[in-house]
């Protein structure tokens, strides 16, 4: 059971400021990177790169700023659930829209 682990791990693992500084810095660098990339002509890859970088940044924030890396399984599971449903909503809806273009049988 995820939450029994919670009981033990509930003493907060205090993250050292050094990590925060590193993460904050890399986030700023990535921001610059994504802006730079958007001025290149990458065709189909423009949105892919942009979203990839955004995802990396989001993961960094979630793992370190939001302490998920050091949190209980339950928290990790919760984050995963949110992601899962979010993707279900977007994926299943877009599935309809894209397959509409394929026309009839």
């Amino acid at each position: 059971m995820t939450d029994q682990h919670e009981m033990e791990e509930s003493q907060h693992h205090v993250v050292s400021p050094m990590i925060y500084i590193i993460i904050g810095g890399s986030l700023l660098v990535l921001t610059g990177l994504t802006v730079f990339a958007s001025f290149l002509e990458l065709g189909i890859f423009n949105p892919i790169v942009a979203l990839a970088i955004a995802c990396v940044k989001a993961v960094l924030v979630v793992l370190f700023f939001m302490h998920v890396k050091y949190s209980s399984k339950l928290t990790k599971l919760t984050v995963f659930c949110g992601l899962f449903t979010f993707i279900a909503l977007i994926g299943m809806t877009l599935m309809d829209y894209f397959s509409r273009a394929w026309g009839r049988w």
Partner: protein, 256 residues
């Protein structure tokens, strides 16, 4: 299975008074001990963030669909956004996220002065973000790019009429029908950034309240739950922006 172990030392009807020894003032009556209370609060916060994710999820879905349908309109409309302001805002928000994280750390290691400083910085950066957003909104209002309020297609049907954008991207004029779809882009732009800004405003209000409590030393006595949970909220708002920025500003910036 810590439960089973606990059951092991404790027969059916033995008094079980788990963690009733020390009673901090902030321990609510219905919790066994501080850890349980902190866990519960943190977990609740995460669940609340889940609802927030789904709340924005609806708008992201709409955005993705219309971006695929009306790509040209979305590209030219996005050229109306000032990428410099956007990048600056992203930097501001990330920094504020960083100061917030530092604030949580200060609270955990009970540095009151540091905590107050971090909160104030976060507060200021949050305001700065909103300030920049206001500037951007003002631009849109002046150009009549607010859906529903005398929305004007001029910049898209005739890009030359909008020199500073034109010299940068040399956009081709859109057909009227496609130009009309820029209104959907701006609807989504205002809906998403507006909803995000609303979250910022709420966050800043709470920050103001927290700064006072922090100066009274409320969070540096070991009870850091509130600061931590607010941190989670603030970082979440940051994450939303991390996605809004490339989706709205950086669709395709290379001059075509």
């Amino acid at each position: 299975m810590s439960d089973s172990t606990r059951v092991a030392h404790g027969t059916a009807d033995s008094l079980h008074t788990g963690g009733h020894e020390e009673h901090p003032a902030y321990l609510r009556h219905h919790f066994e001990n501080v850890e349980q209370q902190a866990d519960a609060a943190g977990f609740a916060m995460w669940l609340f963030l889940l609802t927030e994710v789904m709340f924005f999820g609806g708008m992201f879905t709409a955005y993705l669909i219309y971006r695929n349908w009306y790509y040209p309109a979305f590209v030219e409309a996005s050229h109306q956004l000032n990428v410099v302001w956007g990048t600056l805002n992203t930097a501001v928000l990330i920094t504020s996220s960083f100061t917030m994280a530092m604030g949580v750390w200060c609270a955990e290691v009970r540095k009151q002065a540091g905590l107050v400083l971090c909160l104030v910085l976060t507060f200021i950066l949050g305001l700065a973000f909103l300030g920049i957003k206001t500037v951007e909104y003002k631009e849109k209002i002046e150009k009549h790019h607010v859906p529903g309020f005398h929305y004007s297609l001029k910049s898209f049907t005739n890009p030359q009429s909008d020199p500073e954008i034109y010299k940068e991207y040399h956009d081709k004029p859109l057909g009227v029908d496609m130009a009309r779809h820029t209104e959907i882009y701006f609807s989504l732009y205002f809906a998403m950034t507006g909803m995000h800004a609303l979250h910022m405003i709420i966050g800043i209000a709470i920050l103001g309240f927290m700064i006072f409590r922090a100066r009274a030393g409320a969070y540096t006595s070991g009870h850091v739950t509130f600061v931590e949970n607010f941190g989670l909220y603030w970082h979440f708002v940051d994450i939303i922006w991390i996605f809004l920025f490339p989706l709205l500003y950086l669709i395709s910036r290379h001059a075509n």
